[in-house]
Amino acid sequence: MSYSGGHILLSSQREGQVSRFSAWVMLLVPLAAILFQVYVPLFFEFLSFLEMPLLVVVYFALMRRSQVGGLLVGAVVGLAQDSLSKNPLGMLGIVNTLVGYFAASVGMRLDVDHPLIRLLLTFFFFVFHQFFYWLMVRALLGQSLVFEAQKTLVLGLLNAVVGISLYHFLDKLRKAS
């Protein structure tokens, strides 16, 4: 585990190191996250607060530092989530696409290896994900879903903490540059 040094903002895009992952990692990790999201809460309900697919999307988008790659990962993961849920196809896909795009955009300018940055970004994108999903449900589906801000902030913090550990594990799967 090697964190980059004392500064958080990158002076140029070249300073940011693009992480590369093997294909099976890019395939199996999102799949595992989705399966976790689907099956684990059935047996461990207290873990239902975890938004594992979102954490994976944020991680890959941040580390790959590619906006197109980030949004494609987000779109695929989101559509997969939609297919396993009662949502119309595209609801979580759109949200995760935006998360992947913006996460990649932020990852190009920040030192995303810094744990604090990861914590803050994960927290921020969780809140963004929840809020934008609530917005789309109201706007596109016309459903009166309640946005619980306090609960969202707490869950965002918990997901950010879990995300730090998850990202630490996923860092092990990076290809050595």
């Binding site: 906006q67 197109v68 949004l71 494609l72 779109a75 989101g78 559509l79 119309p88 196809l89 595209g90 609801m91 896909g93 759109i94 696409t97 935006l98 795009y101 596109l140 589906l141 016309g142």
Partner: protein, 368 residues
């Protein structure tokens, strides 16, 4: 273009992916009216564009039609305006013709039934002076018109001839201050002298204050002036004021109430009786009944006999029943209810009945 896409590649891909997923959502989701959102969105997206396109098209065509292609509009407008003017003139002409026909008809009826001998004349001009109450008519000495002859209309007296030319005559109207005529009231037979005042209203002088005359009363010519024959309508009394030694009486002349275009000149006046009722409610002339054979059914040989009653069918039936009653000694109106009625099927010899009294005496009569 390629460099543009390369520069904004990421955002372009993002928008495309988002758009694709939005379409995906819209295809699946239905609204409250069970209508797919893709259809709603499409219509919502297309409608403003279509409206703008239609507005542009309508505006363009309207601009072309209303401004570009209006090079002949001014000429067309002038042509239509001229057409409207022509139609207005034609309409006025036809209205005048209609009024003229009505007046001419009334004049002809009056002329044919007045005992006086008259000459019809048309007003062809007015006097030159601003205060002149004089008109020129198209009949003169050639037609037998002489100075001093009275001029009337079916509604009343109009004036008198003051100058007779060979083919025209000057008529002094009754509204002229120099005009005077003897009049008599209808109810009280109050006599006076009608004088013009230069206004549409005339006055009656020399009516003693003790005489009784009321507003609304009709005045007729008295014949005392040796100009107007007795019995022609003059006008209706509008105002009566008590004064010494004569009453002040204002009269609204009736002869020119319906305009003054056609008049009758009395070349040989005949005095008439002053009617008991005002001219407006005077009896209507009823012509003589048609000949007897004209009212009988041609297929009835009995009625074809001479001496059959004239009149209507009701008159004929009335006479027939009267004869039947007389033949059987029956008096109508005297039988009690239940008594035997006369045999109305009785065949009488000879012509059936004689008219008890003709409805209208031959030669015409007046009925109120």
């Amino acid at each position: 273009m390629e460099s543009f896409l390369n520069r904004y590649r990421s955002i372009t891909v993002l928008l495309l992916v988002i758009l694709a997923q939005l379409v995906l959502v819209a295809v699946q989701v239905k609204n409250d009216q069970d209508m797919r959102m893709i259809r709603v969105w499409t219509v919502t997206a297309v409608t403003p564009v279509a409206r703008v396109v239609e507005a542009l098209r309508g505006g363009s065509s309207g601009f072309i039609r209303n401004y570009v292609l209006l090079r002949d509009a001014h000429q067309e407008n002038r042509r239509l305006q001229a057409e409207v003017d022509r139609l207005k003139l034609e309409n006025n002409y036809l209205n005048n013709e209609l009024n003229l026909a009505d007046r001419a008809k009334a004049l002809a009826v009056f002329q044919s039934h007045t005992p006086s001998r008259t000459v019809a004349a048309t007003v062809i001009g007015t006097g030159a002076g601003t205060n002149s109450k004089m008109v020129l008519v198209d009949r003169g000495t050639v037609s037998g018109v002489e100075r001093g002859m009275p001029v009337v209309t079916p509604d009343g007296i109009v004036g008198k001839v003051i100058t007779a030319y060979p083919t025209a005559s000057a008529v002094l109207l009754i509204t002229d201050p120099d005009f005077a005529a003897g009049v008599v009231s209808q109810k009280g037979q109050v006599r006076g002298t009608l004088k013009g005042q230069g206004t549409p209203i005339c006055k009656v002088d020399y009516v003693p204050f003790e005489e009784k005359i009321e507003p609304g009363e009709w005045l007729y010519t008295s014949g005392d002036d040796r100009i107007f024959p007795r019995g022609f309508p003059v006008g209706v009394v509008k105002v009566v004021r008590s004064a010494q030694p004569f009453k002040e009486i204002l009269v609204d002349p009736s002869g020119m109430a319906r305009g003054l275009e056609d008049v009758l000149i009395l070349v040989e006046g005949v005095h008439q009786a002053i009617p008991d009722t005002p001219p407006g409610s005077q009896p209507v002339f009823i012509g003589t009944p048609p000949p007897a054979d004209a009212v009988k059914p041609p297929d009835n040989p009995e009625n074809a006999a001479p001496g059959a009653p004239a009149g209507t069918e009701a008159d004929r039936l009335r006479a027939q029943y009267k004869d039947i009653g007389a033949a059987q000694g029956h008096k109508f109106g005297e039988g009690t209810p239940g008594s035997k009625p006369p045999d109305f099927n009785l065949k009488l010899p000879g012509p059936v009945g004689t008219p008890a009294a003709p409805a209208v005496p031959p030669g015409g009569a007046s009925h109120p």
